[in-house]
C-alpha cells in the first residue's frame, strides 16, 4: 500500500543556453499536461516538430481527472496509447443514482456491442500523463520535452511568436511560428493577454478523496460503476459520488456546506469519519484529499492570431460529466491536423480559425451540460431546493422524473454537423459526426474500423461502389473486393451504423465531412478542399 510513485523527469539545459544558434520552431506547446502532451504526439505523427515547455517536472499530482470517455480513448488509440490505457484502466458503463438509501435510476452509457473501446475507463491522470510522456519519447526527432522551463512572457509578431523562458540555468528566448497555450485553468498566457474568462463560479465546495482499500465499496458483486447519491444516509442533505480506479483506489466526492472551512475539512481527522460512514469498517488508506470549488467558464475566442488556446486554458468545467479533460482531448483532435496542414502549406492559414468555431461550439456544449448538472446538485434558493426535492420524490416510481434527475450528463463526442467545413448531405451517419467504430474482418483477421482508418482524409465505401483515386486521400472498401484495402462488416455492425451502400469522406480527425452515393474524383476533391478551408467564401 504505497500509492503512485512519482518519478521526476530530467531537466536538460536547453540548447539556447548552451550556445546553440537560435532556431525557429514550428510549434511551441506551453504545458505538459494531458492536452499539451497529446498535441505534441498528434503533431509528431503528422511530421511536425514541437517543443513542449513545462514549469514542473512531474506528472499531475493528486486527485484530478479519472474518467476518460470512449471518444477520448479512440483518439488515444490513434496516438498509440489507447490500448495501454484500456489495459490499465477500470472499465465501466453503468451509472446509478440513489436518493437516500434507495436506487432511483440507472443508465447504461454503451448498451451496444461492437466497439473496440468501452463507454468509459477510469484511470488516474498521473498514469495518463506518464503514458503520454513515454509515448512522446518515441519521437526524439520531433518532440523536445523541456521540463523546469517556465514561460514567463511572449510576444506575437504577426508571423511568429517570441517566448521568454525561465530555467534553473537562467532565462532564454525562443522563437516559434505558433504558440499553443496548454497551460491549464490558471493560464498565465491568458492573464498576460488580459483575456476575459467568463462564466459561472459555484460557491459549494466539494471534498475529493482518493482512498486505497482491498475490499470493494461497490456492494456484493463489486462491479465498478458510477454511484451518485442525493441526500444519502451517510452524508445527510448533500450529495456524494463514488468511482473505482486502478490499484484498488476509489474516488469519493462529497459536497460540503457553502461556508465550510476547506482547510479544516481536508484534515485527516475530519475526513476519516466521513469515509468510514460510507465504507464501514473495511480498512482503507487515504491516498489524497483536496477541497475544490468549481467553475464553468470559457474564453470568447480560442485563436488569437499565432497564439492558440487548447484544453483547460480555453475552458474549465465542473467535473460532473467528465467533460474537462475529455473536452480538451477533442480540442487536440481538432487542432492537430489543421495546424499540420497549415504548416505544410497544404491548407490556408484561415483553417485555424475553424478550430475556434468548432471547439468553441463543443466547449459551449460541455459548459451547458456541466453547469446544469452542478446547478441541480446545488440548489441556490428555497424554491430550487423544493423542486429538486419533489423531482427526487417522484423519481422513485415515475420514469419521467428519473430522467430529470441530473447527477452529470457524461461526456459525449461533439457533433460538428452544420459547420462550414462539412459538405451538407444525408446518410445514416451525418456529416459532422465522429466515426462510429465497428468490428471488421480483413485479410489478416478480425480488426476494428477504428484501427484501419488512417489519420488523413479517407474515403470509406460501403457495398459495390468504386472509390476514385484522389491524391492524398486514402480508400477503404467494406463488403467488396477492390484494389485498395477492403474488409467485411462483422456481425452486421458496420452496415447497421453506416448503411449497406454509400460513401463517406472522413477528415483526418475522424469526423465525417461529406457523404456521397457514387462520387467521382471531382466531387471528392471539392469536399476535401472545403474541409481544408480552401472555400471559405463560398461555404460561409
Amino acid at each position: 500500500m504505497a500509492g503512485y510513485k512519482y518519478e521526476p523527469f530530467d531537466y536538460v539545459k536547453p540548447p539556447e543556453l548552451s550556445g546553440a544558434a537560435p532556431a525557429l520552431y514550428p510549434v511551441a506547446i506551453i504545458g505538459a499536461g494531458p492536452i499539451g502532451l497529446a498535441l505534441a504526439i498528434d503533431l509528431a505523427q503528422r511530421g511536425i516538430k514541437s517543443v513542449v515547455l513545462d514549469d514542473n517536472n512531474v506528472v499531475s499530482v493528486g486527485s484530478r481527472a479519472i474518467c476518460w470517455a470512449k471518444r477520448t480513448l479512440e483518439i488515444f488509440n490513434r496516438l498509440g496509447v489507447g490500448e495501454r490505457m484500456l489495459e490499465k484502466g477500470v472499465t465501466w458503463k453503468i451509472g446509478r443514482n440513489f436518493h437516500g438509501d434507495q436506487e432511483i435510476y440507472n443508465f447504461d452509457l454503451l448498451p451496444e456491442d461492437g466497439h473496440k473501446y468501452p463507454a468509459f475507463i477510469n484511470l488516474q491522470q498521473y498514469y495518463v500523463e506518464q503514458y503520454l510522456v513515454e509515448r512522446a519519447r518515441d519521437f526524439p526527432e520531433l518532440i523536445e520535452l523541456r521540463f523546469k522551463n517556465r514561460v514567463t512572457g511572449h510576444k506575437d509578431h504577426g508571423d511568429h511568436v517570441t517566448l521568454t523562458v525561465e530555467t534553473p540555468d537562467g532565462t532564454y528566448e525562443m522563437v516559434a511560428e505558433y504558440y499553443i497555450a496548454c497551460d491549464g485553468a490558471n493560464s498565465a498566457t491568458r492573464e498576460r493577454m488580459g483575456l476575459d474568462f467568463t462564466g459561472q463560479t459555484f460557491q459549494e465546495q466539494f471534498l475529493i478523496a482518493d482512498i486505497e482499500m482491498e475490499d470493494s465499496p461497490f456492494g456484493e458483486n463489486a462491479v465498478p460503476e458510477r454511484w451518485f447519491w442525493f441526500d444519502p444516509p451517510f452524508h445527510e442533505g448533500k450529495s456524494a459520488l463514488l468511482h473505482a480506479q486502478p490499484d484498488n483506489i476509489y474516488r469519493i466526492d462529497l459536497q460540503l456546506d457553502v461556508d465550510a472551512d476547506g482547510k479544516a475539512e481536508s484534515a485527516p481527522e475530519k475526513v476519516m469519519p466521513r469515509i468510514k460512514a460510507i465504507v464501514g469498517d473495511k480498512p482503507f488508506r487515504l491516498d489524497w484529499v483536496s477541497v475544490y470549488k468549481f467553475r464553468c467558464i470559457k474564453l470568447d475566442r480560442f485563436v488569437h492570431n499565432r497564439v492558440i488556446f487548447v484544453g483547460d486554458s480555453a475552458h474549465v468545467v465542473s467535473p460532473f460529466g467528465a467533460r474537462g479533460g475529455n473536452g480538451g482531448i477533442q480540442d487536440v483532435d481538432n487542432i492537430g491536423w489543421k495546424l499540420a496542414a497549415v504548416l505544410k502549406s497544404e491548407a490556408p492559414a484561415e483553417l485555424i480559425e475553424t478550430y475556434h468555431e468548432e471547439r468553441s461550439h463543443g466547449s459551449a456544449e460541455n459548459i451547458l451540460n456541466s453547469s446544469r448538472a452542478t446547478n441541480f446538485m446545488t440548489p441556490k434558493t428555497p424554491v430550487e431546493a423544493l423542486f429538486r426535492a419533489e423531482v427526487l420524490k417522484l423519481a422513485h416510481d415515475q420514469p419521467f422524473a428519473r430522467r430529470l434527475v441530473n447527477s452529470g450528463r457524461l461526456s459525449q463526442p461533439c457533433s460538428l454537423a452544420g459547420m462550414r467545413l462539412q459538405s451538407p448531405g444525408v446518410a445514416p451517419l451525418e456529416p459532422g459526426q465522429p466515426l462510429l467504430d465497428a468490428p471488421l474482418d480483413g485479410a489478416e483477421g478480425p480488426t476494428w474500423l477504428l484501427d484501419v482508418v488512417p489519420p488523413q482524409f479517407c474515403l470509406i465505401g460501403f457495398g459495390e461502389v468504386d472509390l476514385p483515386d484522389v491524391p492524398g486521400v486514402a480508400r477503404i472498401g467494406i463488403n467488396t473486393i477492390r484494389e485498395y484495402p477492403c474488409f467485411n462488416s462483422r456481425d452486421g455492425f458496420a452496415t447497421k451504423r453506416y448503411g449497406q451502400q454509400g460513401v463517406y469522406l472522413i477528415r483526418p480527425d475522424g469526423h465525417v465531412c461529406a457523404v456521397f452515393s457514387e462520387p467521382d474524383r471531382h466531387d471528392v476533391e471539392r469536399a476535401c478542399a472545403r474541409a481544408q478551408g480552401k472555400m471559405m467564401e463560398q461555404a460561409a
Partner: protein, 62 residues
C-alpha cells in the same frame, strides 16, 4: 392562450382547491411543484412549455 377547460372550469378549480385541502403551507408548495412537473410531462412539447413559463412570469407583480 386559448381557453381549453370549456365547461369544466369550476370542476377543475374546485378539484385543485380540494387537492390542497388540509395541507400545511409547505406541503401545498410541494404539491404545486409536483403538479408543475407532472403537467409539464403531460404537455411534453418544449416550445409550448417555454411559452407557458414566459406567459406565467409576465403576471409577476414584484
Amino acid at each position: 392562450m386559448s381557453d381549453n377547460l370549456g365547461l369544466y372550469q369550476d370542476d377543475f378549480y374546485n378539484a385543485l382547491m380540494d387537492a390542497h385541502a388540509g395541507l400545511s403551507e409547505s406541503a401545498s408548495h410541494a404539491l404545486n411543484a409536483r403538479l408543475v412537473l407532472m403537467l409539464a410531462n403531460r404537455v411534453g412539447d418544449i416550445e409550448t412549455l417555454k411559452d407557458i413559463l414566459e406567459k406565467a412570469r409576465e403576471y409577476n407583480d414584484e
